[in-house]
């Protein structure tokens, strides 16, 4: 009879249930959308912050060593040691290799440039880069890791290089200094006794970067290696990886952890653990997290998460009040039923149980529907907020959220309806039942 009462009440009194149902539905829709966005926001924020550059940098371990003679640091300013370009594919073999979204090796070389052959020589810093390099199926290089660089013209191509003629891009300030335009030629000279001696460079692009790169010549890594006389070498590698925001556990020294904890640390995509795995994979390499981007990412994430929790809590609170108001109306309309049940000998507990069961069932229905709608809303919002990364509404169905959202709906609905149910049970049944009351 209990279930009959419950079912018939739903079947034949849909209008009465509608108001409370809509309140729960709206609340759970908002909460699901916020929670779904909060759980997927890490990837999206990473994509957004990727425009600010790499989050891991690799350089030769030798750079860490102090070379002091008589208290004077005699280590060369630019460093004298290199990484092997042939070691870079090992980056794809680390545990979190698939999280690496960009790689940009660099090789700086000090050159002298003249506007015309035989003309005045200016000191010029040149840096060799990958520009559109196929890295195990990933097209990457300096432009990918420095998306804010603005190029007028084209990037140099490595295969166009010969000993005597090469394509280069130049920084905007350098171009102004030498009066260069796209298509102009100038001569490049290496330091005496190092690699190729000189070459004619054709400007294929002029780059605006907003930093010191504007004073540089950007050439293909292969050409830089030729000038430096360091075939197959790179000085520094910037890596962009999809990482988990840093927390206290991310900052611990993995070697101080128990094997089990170390395993957990190792298998979490912290920038630190990826850097650690890179150090393991490439002998002689020192890999470190670039804290500027990492910390920004963590800060942005924690602030956005905080905001989302706040919105979720506000949505739940609003839903609670709405349910409370809707239940108060519904129960007021049904006070005759309550009076009747009391007269038939129903205890207050039995009546409360019936109303709570109705509310609970409504919460489960509305919560499930809210979960589905909220998932759709999250996809739609995600597509609009992060329009830069594609803008398509991908489904954000996170199964683990379903029980969480339904449980929240139940709590909100039951707590919201409690004042009305208690008030209804306090009413004098005889006053409700008697027509002249």
């Amino acid at each position: 009879m209990f279930f009959r009462l419950l079912m018939e009440s739903f079947r034949r009194q849909r209008r009465r249930k509608l108001l409370a149902g809509i309140a729960i539905l709206l609340g759970t829709t908002a909460v699901t959308a916020m929670l779904a966005l909060a759980t997927t926001i890490g990837d999206r924020i990473h994509k957004e912050l990727a425009v600010y550059g790499a989050n891991i940098v690799i350089y030769p371990k030798a750079d860490l060593l102090d070379v002091k003679i008589g208290g004077v640091d005699v280590k060369p300013a630019s460093g004298g040691s290199y990484l092997k370009e042939s070691d870079l594919p090992k980056l794809k073999t680390i545990f979190w290799g698939n999280n690496i979204t960009g790689v940009s090796p660099e090789l700086p070389v000090e050159l002298a440039a003249a506007r015309q052959s035989g003309g005045t020589l200016f000191p010029a810093r040149a840096v060799g880069y990958w520009f559109d390099h196929d890295f195990g199926g990933l097209k990457t290089g300096a432009p990918a890791l420095h998306p804010w660089w603005k190029l007028h013209g084209a990037w140099p191509t490595a295969n166009a290089a010969t000993q005597n003629a090469m394509n280069v891009a130049v920084g905007m300030k350098f171009a102004q200094q030498l009066g260069l335009k796209v298509g102009d030629k100038f001569s490049l000279h290496a330091a005496p006794g190092v690699g190729a001696s000189s070459s004619t460079a054709t400007v294929v692009g002029i780059v605006t970067t907003g930093d010191d790169t504007e004073n540089e010549i950007l050439l293909s890594l292969q050409d830089a290696q030729m000038f430096a006389g360091a075939t197959g070498s790179v000085r520094r590698v910037e890596v962009s990886a999809r990482t988990k925001p840093e927390d206290a556990f991310a900052r611990v020294d993995p070697d101080s952890l128990t094997p089990a904890k170390r395993e957990i640390w190792y298998c979490r995509p912290y920038a630190n653990s990826i850097a650690y795995q890179i150090r393991e994979a490439i002998p002689g390499a020192q890999a470190e997290q670039v804290r500027r981007v990492e910390q920004s990412e963590g800060n942005v994430l924690s602030r956005i998460s905080g905001l989302m929790w706040l919105i979720s809590a506000a949505a739940l609170l609003a839903a609670g009040f709405a349910v409370s108001a809707a239940m108060a109306t519904a129960i007021l309309e049904r006070r005759g039923e309550i009076g009747l049940m009391r007269s038939l000998g129903a205890s207050k507990g039995a009546i409360a149980m019936l109303f709570y069961a109705e509310t609970g069932l409504l919460a489960i229905f509305a919560g499930t529907l809210g979960y589905l709608l909220g998932s759709g809303l999250a996809a739609w919002l995600g597509a609009r907020i992060f329009a830069g990364d594609g803008g398509s509404a991908e489904a954000v169905l996170i199964p683990v959220l379903l029980p969480v959202v339904v449980a929240l709906a139940l709590v909100v609905a039951l707590v919201g309806s409690t004042p009305s149910i208690r008030a209804a049970l306090r009413m004098d049944p005889s006053a409700i039942l008697r027509a002249d009351a």
Binding site: M1, R12, G336, S343, L344, G345, S347, A435, A437
Partner: protein, 252 residues
Amino acid sequence: MSEAKVQTGPLVDPYGSTRDDCAVIALKQVTREYAGHGSVVRALGDATFSIVAGEWVAITGPSGSGKSTLVNLIGCLDRPTSGELKIDNVDVASMSATELDRFRADKIGFIFQQFHLIPYLSALENVMLAQYFHSMTDEAEARAALERVGLDKRVSHLPSELSGGEQQRVCIARALINNPPVLLADEPTGNLDAANQTIVAELLQDLHRNGHTIVMVTHDPEMAGLAQRRIALSHGKVFCHPVGGPMVTLRR
């Protein structure tokens, strides 16, 4: 039914203590007071009377006379402030709220002026609801109860699909389903047209003939005339009349 004489004070229950042994309802100096704004309102004072099993009693009186209070007490929806109230030989005055709920389900069958049927349940389900809160449901028994009130063809109809008279008959079937010793009818014909009033009155007469104890609140002199005895109320005081006693006009 003629008007005979004016009473100015409470009458003594003519059956007195000799009826107490077979009384299904017995009140001894029952008082009910309500706390008002800084004062105490006495809704019923020193009520003493009894109703024996199988008796049909009408409770009459103007609004504010204490009828509701008396019905609430007899219906175990309320407890007296003082005095002794026995239903089926059990003193309900000292019962807890939970005990009173249980006791009410066992002992009292309510018939309401407004019928109070659950709108989303069929006639049959409305009758079964009383079984559910009493013990356990028995559909065959519920059907038999509806058949007894002439509604065997209307069992699956919703209250909105039944006439007023039919709804009241469902209400009577519901009141009867748990075989309570007391049927408490509150203006049972107050909301019915003449034709349906006759049907319900005949049904109550039939129940009385079959030995049911009926306590009926009514403003309708004709309905009150069907009862064996009338208990009149005025200003919280009870006036009892024997079977076939004269009608009383109460001076307000």
